[in-house]
């Protein structure tokens, strides 16, 4: 495992990239505007691509360079482009009827991060540099998953639900890059295409909903229609 031979510079770079992506998840949580969600998601994906590339460089995993390029291309460019297209079609610029105000969802997000830290700290008894990076990666992975669930739960626009799903997935991907960088490349490529399919399906679904229901908010869709 390459984490056992980590020097301080690598530890700082990994933790920097991981923490900044967590901050971007909070940007998504604290904003009203759909466009900001998409931009924050794109920036987060670019950071994760940088993380993959630096793991590839420091840990000598040449196949991770390909994963980094694919991540930057698909998550950083194609998915945001498709999502922006959907946002433009939707004519919804911001979440108006949120269940939670952004400020209170930020507070809940902070509590989720603390919970994730407690859980991650319980899993690790190692106090060396590698151990601390593992705790950090686990904390950020679990808290990004929790933040993704939170976004899925409290937002009702279709587009923010896709983004919640994507944040959740980004969290898992980020954690796996640091913790198990030797994961078979094929699996990572499959995940990438999975995401592409998810977004494409959502795009079709959103158009269908717009034509037949006239709204994409899950609040409007609480009746069974035959």
């Amino acid at each position: 495992m390459f984490l056992t031979t980590l020097n301080p510079l690598q530890a700082s770079i990994f933790s920097l990239l991981a923490i900044v992506s967590l901050v971007l998840a909070f940007v998504m949580l604290g904003s009203h505007w759909l466009q900001n969600y998409v931009f924050a998601f794109a920036a987060q994906s670019w950071l994760i691509a940088c993380l993959s590339a630096s793991v590839a460089f420091f840990g000598h995993y040449p196949e991770l360079y390909a994963v980094a390029v694919l991540t930057a291309l698909f998550r950083g460019l194609v998915l945001p482009y498709l999502l922006l297209g959907i946002v433009k079609k939707l004519n919804v610029k911001r979440e108006i009827h949120t269940i939670l105000q952004p400020s209170s969802s930020l507070v809940i997000g902070a509590i989720a991060v603390m919970f994730a830290f407690v859980v991650a700290n319980h899993m690790n008894r190692d106090t060396s540099t590698a151990g601390r990076v593992v705790v950090l990666a686990l904390t950020i992975m679990i808290s990004m998953k929790l933040l993704g669930y939170l976004m899925l739960a409290v937002r009702d626009e279709a587009i923010s639900q896709i983004l919640g799903l994507l944040v959740l997935e980004n969290g898992i991907f980020l954690g796996s890059q640091i913790l198990v960088p030797g994961m078979p490349t094929l699996i990572e490529i499959v995940i990438l295409f999975d995401l592409l399919v998810v977004v494409a399906c959502f795009g079709v679904l959103v158009r269908f909903l717009l034509v037949h229901v006239g709204s994409t908010s899950s609040r409007q869709m609480n009746r069974l229609v035959g």
Partner: protein, 314 residues
């Protein structure tokens, strides 16, 4: 030893003489970005020269504070360059007279004196400016204190020279999240404290004025001294941002004449880079309304807290 004293005097002179140039550069580049030709880079020098030769008009209601404030502000700005690494990163004879917190105190003393002067003459604009700037400093102070606390936790010392040496020696500290979040937090402070958007307006209208409203009653040489003091404050904050936090490279290590000259050039280059970043912010950002002033400062506060938390974790 004598060369060290000469060096210290040179540090003060450097801040005194180059600060209008920095202001001129920022104004010029800002205008160029907006596709107008803009004032010359040396325009602030000409303004100061003109004001120094004008007649002094004193309001009838002015008391002794009115005359003291410019002197106090100017002296405070002349004191701080002794404490911080401007040209050389070696500790100079008087540089451990005060730590970072002490330097912050002297800087704040200068603005406090101007604040009192704004209230002194009893004109409504002075009062408005003073009350606005007090509100801003109430919002900015927690961030400043947290940034300073973060720096001292990072370097285990409160002297700016030690922080500079640490960043030069250990590249892993430079790239650690604790340090880079401190840089972001300090950049937010830098925008607020040097009268830039998103809080301070770039147009000189009385309703938007914050810091300028405090000195509306001044004229002639006293106004020149106050303007010079505010340019020096900007230069000092840029110095702390570049030489202590962001770009610790390119400073004279031995203290020879050639090294001094090189570090002045490096200083101009570094300030140019930071000024360009500031110009980008000023161009893309519109002025925030009064009730959203806390947002950039809250972001800075958040980054400072994050820096301290990640410093404890990693």
């Amino acid at each position: 030893m004598p060369t060290d004293i000469v060096l210290q005097v040179l540090q003060v002179l450097c801040v005194l003489l180059l600060s209008p140039l920095l202001q001129g550069f920022i104004l010029r580049v800002e205008e160029r970005v907006q596709r107008s030709s803009g004032p010359s880079v040396v325009q602030p020098y000409r303004d100061l020269w003109k004001l120094l030769h004008k007649q002094l008009v004193i309001p009838e209601s002015a008391s002794w504070i009115f005359f003291c404030a410019p002197a106090v502000a100017f002296t405070a700005m002349l004191t701080v360059p002794i404490l911080i690494p401007v040209l050389t990163d070696r500790p100079l004879p008087l540089s451990n007279m005060a730590d970072i917190l002490g330097g912050g105190l002297v800087l704040t003393l200068g603005s406090f004196a101007i604040l009192l002067a704004g209230l002194d003459s009893g004109s409504p604009f002075g009062g408005i400016g003073s009350s606005r700037s007090v509100m801003l400093s109430i919002l900015a102070e927690p961030t400043l204190i947290l940034v300073l606390a973060g720096i001292s936790l990072l370097a285990k010392a409160m002297l700016p020279f030690v922080v500079n040496h640490l960043l030069l020696q250990d590249i892993s500290v430079y790239w650690s999240p604790a340090h880079l979040f401190l840089v972001l937090a300090f950049f937010a402070l830098l925008l607020v404290e040097t009268d830039r958007l998103p809080i301070h307006s770039s147009t000189h209208l009385e309703i938007y004025m914050i810091d300028e409203a405090r000195i509306l009653e001044y004229s002639g040489p006293l106004l020149a001294v106050l303007k010079w003091a505010s340019m020096m404050k900007q230069f000092i904050l840029y110095t702390i941002f570049c030489n202590v936090l962001t770009l610790p490279w390119g400073m004279s290590q031995i203290g020879g004449w050639f090294g001094q000259f090189g570090s002045v050039l490096a200083l101009l280059l570094k300030f140019g880079l930071v000024a360009l970043a500031v110009v980008v912010v000023e161009t893309v950002q519109s002025r925030l309304r009064f009730f959203r002033y806390q947002e950039p400062l809250a972001a800075g506060f958040l980054f400072a807290v994050l820096a301290i938390v990640s410093n404890q974790l990693i």
